[in-house]
Symmetry: C2
């Protein structure tokens, strides 16, 4: 229909404007209604499974036509009318990180089961991009937000203030309270400490990003505190940090500083697997044997570790279970409940 009823006043340009008019006109509620000889209201009700509001014959006839024509309700119209888009936005800092990809996959699956679709936004860990996306998603009228490792930003504060349904994953709301799904980061660090200690390793070190998130800090903190409890003074634990966007590079550079003019430690905590990979590369370059010379402990336990990084001890985070929890939190928020935190169990994996 579109454009066909518009008189073509530019006769000589007709040939140029002649696009493939292959676009089937869409099947609308009205199309079905006309074919069935009923009102669109009736078709709408039947399509929405509202039974008992139409005669059995009508229902059957309409359903047959719906099937034959392949009618699918247009969610744009529905969303406008019902005021629910059934879209959720997920903002993730970086899909190249297997942990983030695992979260995205898990959340996507859970949302789909619950009847929602997920718009994925890669913020590249940059506050401006996070803001841009937050604005764009508001325009999309998304019903909720899943913020993985969110950073502090203006639009985030505004969104929180507005009371938008947000679930924070991995990192807590950088500016206040809010629903959260993650692990007990301090305990994860402490578990790493316990393991290395139990191995009899006393020459310990930890690296971290210079401007680490609360998650990183908590992991390092838990590690250091636990060692202190075990009798190792803070000064005895070597620490190094490095700036950088990528944890791979942070791991490499921080490890470099750590060993600058000194020997490799016997045990090294890296608060993410990516940092562990970075440190590993440096070890390879320096001819250090891992794990014989140095036990590296990461956190995440990416699925690939079992296949190609058997040298890595890592705290497994059950990312596959995050999706269901996240969706649960969203539904709680939609139901008007207060935000809450959900900590999932982690497990140290030694290969």
């Amino acid at each position: 229909m579109r454009g066909l009823d518009r008189p073509s006043q530019s006769g000589e340009q007709g040939a140029m404007n002649r696009k493939r008019v292959s676009a089937h006109q869409p099947v609308l509620l009205a199309t079905v209604a006309a074919k069935a000889g009923v009102s669109i209201a009736t078709v709408s009700r039947i399509v929405n499974g509202e039974t008992g509001r139409a005669s059995a014959e009508t229902i059957e006839r309409v359903q047959k036509i719906v099937g034959a024509l392949g009618y699918r309700p247009n969610h744009v119209g529905r969303a406008l009318r019902r005021r629910e888009s059934r879209i959720v936005a997920m903002l993730s800092p970086n899909l190249d990180n297997p942990a983030m990809a695992a979260i995205a996959a898990s959340v996507e699956t859970a949302l789909r089961s619950a009847g929602y679709v997920m718009i994925l936004c890669d913020t590249h860990d940059r506050a401006e991009l996070q803001d841009e996306y937050l604005h764009a998603m508001r325009s999309q009228a998304v019903q909720g937000y899943v913020l993985v490792n969110a950073v502090q930003s203006e639009a985030l504060s505004a969104s929180v203030a507005r009371g938008d349904p947000i679930v924070f994953v991995g990192r807590r709301n950088p500016a206040g309270a809010g629903s959260f799904v993650g692990i007990d980061n301090r305990r994860a660090g402490a578990d790493a400490a316990d393991h290395l200690w139990a191995q009899g390793i006393r020459d310990l070190a930890v690296i971290h990003p210079t401007q680490g998130s609360s998650a990183s800090r908590d992991r390092v903190d838990g590690f250091v505190r636990r060692l202190k409890e075990l009798g190792l003074p803070c000064e005895a634990i070597r620490q190094a940090s490095a700036l950088g966007l990528s944890h791979l590079e942070v791991g490499y550079a921080a490890a470099q500083r750590l060993i600058d003019g000194k020997s490799w430690p016997g045990g090294l905590l890296c608060p993410s697997d990516m940092m562990a990979y970075g440190a590993y590369r440096l070890a390879l370059e320096k001819g250090i044997r891992i794990p014989e010379t140095c036990r590296i402990v990461g956190i995440d336990d990416n699925a690939l570790n079992a296949w190609i990084a058997p040298w890595l001890i890592s705290v497994r985070i059950p990312y596959a279970d995050f999706g269901a929890k996240v969706v649960g939190q969203l539904q709680a928020l939609w139901a008007g409940e207060q935000p809450s935190e959900q900590l999932l169990p982690h497990e140290l994996i030694v290969r």
Copy 2:
């Protein structure tokens, strides 16, 4: 506004129904218009940058109010009216595969730059799920589809027949022609052959999924043909395959069959890095030294290889460049152009 003008007839249940009425009423075109004392038509034009259709004073006044109120056009209303959702659906078989994650990230970035948002659907490589998503996305009135490693399915055929704008990535349309972004898989296989041959390795093998995609087949084919050209008869190339959804497992199991009762080959082509990881794990278990005993060549060259898989030779596929090409193809389709194929250059990486 919602619900507030509805007379509360259940006085005694009032307390139970009293939800947090914290939901701010949204800022609409009408809100801005009322505040500015103009019609919504005028506000709409100004918001859409239609200059020269309103006096300078009006424009300034309206823009000020828009800013103060933080008005953002609701894309649901806009989509319904303009008949364009500015949403594109990406169907990917498995985000856990770093190659798929890289494609998703690249496409997402390119779409965003072009003013679109991406709904991500993880099909888990299952035809039924692909169909379910294809239907759901039609309901969402998405403007285009990006199908990564698509499998044959009913809804896909229907979508193609309908003329929906689809770009196939990695794997071609399993049932016919269509826009495509990928690499020259035969050449990639041939390049692997050339490299191993040049190393003087003659004891060669290749593994692959039993029901491989056209991409896998072409890679293996290119490898075998090139070796034949070089003088190695087909019979001299050991081959093994295995069933399985995950390429990791396929790699492991196929390698197992390959060496069943025999020695490890000196060179092994794995048509994906994931399969190479699988084969590597078996090698580790068997105490085979990689790469000293056996050179493994993968295809993809995942970003992590440089950090933790220096033993892996791999054909680098420029996934980071896929996004721009995919969006270009989509725009071509939207402009009414015929589908076309775009092959990007690959490069064998030897570490």
